[in-house]
Symmetry: C2
Subunit: 365 residues, 2 copies
C-alpha cells in the first residue's frame, strides 16, 4: 500500500514536471499598459483596443493582462509613441500619422492623401510588402506594429456655408491637420489645429468656418450639424485610415512565442471588428443626420481636382528632401495604382452597377 | 541543509501543482482533421486553411494540431459538410453555397447573386447580425462557422466568342453552378456543372462555349486564355465570396475556452490573409493575362440588367417557398442596401475619383 502510494505520487510528480516544462514555464504572468490616442467616446476605436486586450487574456488563460487607457489618462493622445519609446508604457493604440511632425513618413502607416481604401491598405500592409518596408523605417524608433482597425473612407467635414466652387475655399478657416492641412493651404484654406472638444464652440462662434473629424457615427455625437449644416464628402485626406498597435521592440522580443502569436492573432481579429463596426454604425448615423436636416454635399469637382494636384505637389516636395518618405511613397503609390487598375475591372464596376440599380429602384418607389 | 533542500523541493512541487491546475489540465492534446473543398492548386484558399492551422498550433503550444487535407483526400469537395455532420472529420473549410442543393439558404453565408462586396459581407457577418441569423438556420445541421477568407469580386468567366448583346447569350453552354446558373438560364444560357479539371478540355473541344471559375490568379493557372480569349467582367454571381470554417457543434462545445478563442482569433487572421493575398496576386495575374493577349470585356449593359432582373425573380421565387431563405434574404438585402447608400456617399465616390484620375494620368503618359 505504501509502495503503491509512493509510485502514484512519483508518477504524479513526473507528470507535473513534464507539464510544467511544456506549459507553465512558457506562460509568465504579465501585466501591460496600453495607452490609446482615443478617448472612450470614440467607442469604435477605443472599443477595438479593449476587444483586443480581452482576446489576448482569453488566449493566455488570463496570464497576459493588457489594460487599455483612454487618451490623457497616462499620456496625452499625441504622446503615445514617445511613451512606448521611452518605456513608460509597453504598448499603444494610435494612428501613426499623428507623429507627422517627427517625420511625415509616418503618414503611410495610416493613410496617404488620395490614398488607399481600407481593404487596399490592409492588403498592402499584410501581403503587399507594406509592413516590411515600414518596419525598416521604424527600426530607429525601436517599435513593432500590428494592425488594429480602420475607419474606412472618412467624410470631408462640416461647413457653415455651402462650397459652390474652388473660389469658396479661399480664406476658409478649417480645422484639419497633417497633410490634409498642408494641401488645403495651397487652395487658400487656413488650416487650424483644434482638439476634438473645442471644435463645436469654435464652429458655433464662427472662430472657424469648417472642421473635419471622422465619419457620421463619430461626428454625430459631437453635434456639429447644429452649428455647421453642410456635410461634405469625401474626406480625401483620409481615404481609409489604418490604426496601429505599437509595442517596444525589447518588450516584443522578450515575449514567449505564444504571447507574440496571441498579440498578432488578436490584433487581426480586432482589426476586422473595428472596420465592421464602423460599417454597421456609419450608415445608421448618416440616415439619422439626414433626417435631422443635414445638407449632404459632394465637394465640387474643381475642388477635388485642385486638391489632387496640390496633394501631388506636396508629396513630391516631401519626397525630394526625405529618402525614407520617397521610398515608402513610391512603394505605396505603385501598389495603389495596381490595386485601382484591378478594382476598375471587377470590384468597382460591380459596386457601381449595384449602387446605380439601388438609386433607380428608389426613384421608382 | 537537508531541511532546506526539502523546503525547496516542496516549494517546487507546490508551484508545479498550481501551474498544472492552471494550465496543463486546460490544455488537452488534440488532433483534428480538416477537409477542404479546395485542391492544393487553389493555393490562396488552401493556403488560408494551412495558415489557420499553423496559427492554432502556435496559440496552443503545439497541443492542438489541425491538419488540412485538400479536396478528395478524405472526402470529395462537395461532401465536406456531410463529413463534418456525421463526425468523419472534426472540421472543414468550404464555401457553404455549394450545399445549395440541400437548401439554397446556404448561399448567403458565401455570397448572394448581385450580392455584397467582401468588406460588406464581413461587416454583415461580424457586426451586422449576419452570423447570428445564419447560426439559427445552421442549428439543424449541428455545425458552427467561423470566417476564413474571401475571394473579392470574381470575374465573369471565359468565352470563346465575343458577347455583343443579350441575344448572344441565348443557347450558350456555360460552366456555371448554383444561383448563377439558374439565373442565367432565364437569359437562355444552358448551365453546365463541370469539375475544375475538365473545364479546359471542354472549352478546347467546344463542348461548352464559356466557363466561369474564380479570378485572374486562379484562372491563369488553368490556361483558359489559350482556348477562350474573351475574359468577361464582373462575376455578378460572386461579388465577394466568403469562405467558412465549419465545426461540429459537439466538437466545438467540448473544447476548453482557450481553444475556442484560438480557433476564433486564428480564423479572423486567416480571413484577412486570404483576401489580402488575392488582392496582391490578382492584379499581377491580370497584367500577365492582358500581356498575353486576353481580350478583357465588360458584360454589355443589357446583359447586366437582364441578369439583375432575372436574379430578383429567382430569389423571389425561392423566398416564396422557403421561410428560412426569405428571412435571411430580407436581412441580407436590407443590410446591403444600407451599405450601398453609405458607400455611394464616401467610399465608392472616393475610389471612382481615384480610378478616373489614374485613367486620365495613364492616357497622358
Amino acid at each position: 500500500m505504501e509502495r503503491r502510494k509512493f509510485i502514484q505520487a512519483a508518477g504524479g510528480a513526473a507528470a507535473a514536471a513534464v507539464a510544467t516544462s511544456a506549459t507553465a514555464e512558457a506562460l509568465p504572468t504579465l501585466t501591460w499598459r496600453m495607452a490609446s490616442s482615443f478617448p472612450k467616446s470614440l467607442d469604435t476605436l477605443f472599443g477595438g483596443a479593449e476587444f483586443f486586450a480581452q482576446r489576448v487574456s482569453e488566449l493566455t488563460q488570463g496570464k497576459f493582462t493588457i489594460r487599455a487607457f483612454p487618451a490623457g489618462e497616462i499620456v496625452p493622445a499625441f504622446q503615445v509613441l514617445d511613451a512606448v519609446q521611452n518605456g513608460t508604457i509597453e504598448m499603444g493604440h494610435t494612428p501613426l500619422y499623428i507623429y507627422f511632425g517627427k517625420d511625415p513618413t509616418f503618414t503611410f502607416d495610416t493613410c496617404g492623401p488620395f490614398g488607399m481604401s481600407s481593404r487596399q491598405q490592409t492588403a498592402w500592409y499584410t501581403a503587399g510588402g507594406g509592413r516590411e518596408i515600414f518596419m525598416e523605417f521604424l527600426k530607429s524608433y525601436g517599435i513593432t506594429t500590428l494592425p488594429c482597425g480602420n475607419t474606412g473612407c472618412q467624410m470631408g467635414g462640416w461647413f457653415r456655408k455651402e462650397i459652390k466652387s474652388l473660389e469658396d475655399m479661399a480664406g476658409l478657416k478649417m480645422r484639419v491637420g497633417g497633410f490634409g492641412g498642408r494641401i488645403l493651404q495651397k487652395l487658400g484654406v487656413v488650416p487650424q489645429q483644434i482638439p476634438a472638444g473645442d471644435i463645436y464652440p469654435s464652429l458655433e462662434k464662427g472662430t472657424i468656418d469648417a472642421a473635419e473629424f471622422v465619419g457620421p457615427y463619430d461626428d454625430e455625437k459631437l453635434g456639429f450639424d447644429r452649428v455647421a449644416p453642410y456635410y461634405y464628402t469625401p474626406g480625401w485626406w483620409e481615404t481609409g485610415s489604418h490604426l496601429s498597435l505599437i509595442i517596444g521592440n525589447k518588450q516584443w522580443n522578450d515575449l514567449p512565442p505564444l504571447y507574440r502569436a496571441a498579440l498578432t492573432a488578436a490584433s487581426y481579429e480586432a482589426h476586422v471588428m473595428v472596420q465592421a463596426k464602423y460599417d454597421v454604425r456609419n450608415p445608421q448615423a448618416l440616415a439619422r443626420l439626414i433626417k435631422r436636416g443635414v445638407k449632404l454635399r459632394p465637394f465640387p469637382m474643381d475642388v477635388m481636382k485642385a486638391s489632387l494636384k496640390a496633394a501631388k505637389e506636396v508629396m513630391a516636395e516631401e519626397a525630394s528632401k526625405n529618402a525614407n518618405f520617397k521610398k515608402i511613397y513610391d512603394h505605396y503609390t505603385n501598389f495603389q495604382d495596381q490595386q485601382n487598375k484591378w478594382y476598375s475591372v471587377a470590384e468597382q464596376r460591380m459596386q457601381n452597377f449595384q449602387i446605380a440599380a439601388l438609386n433607380a429602384r428608389e426613384k421608382k418607389e
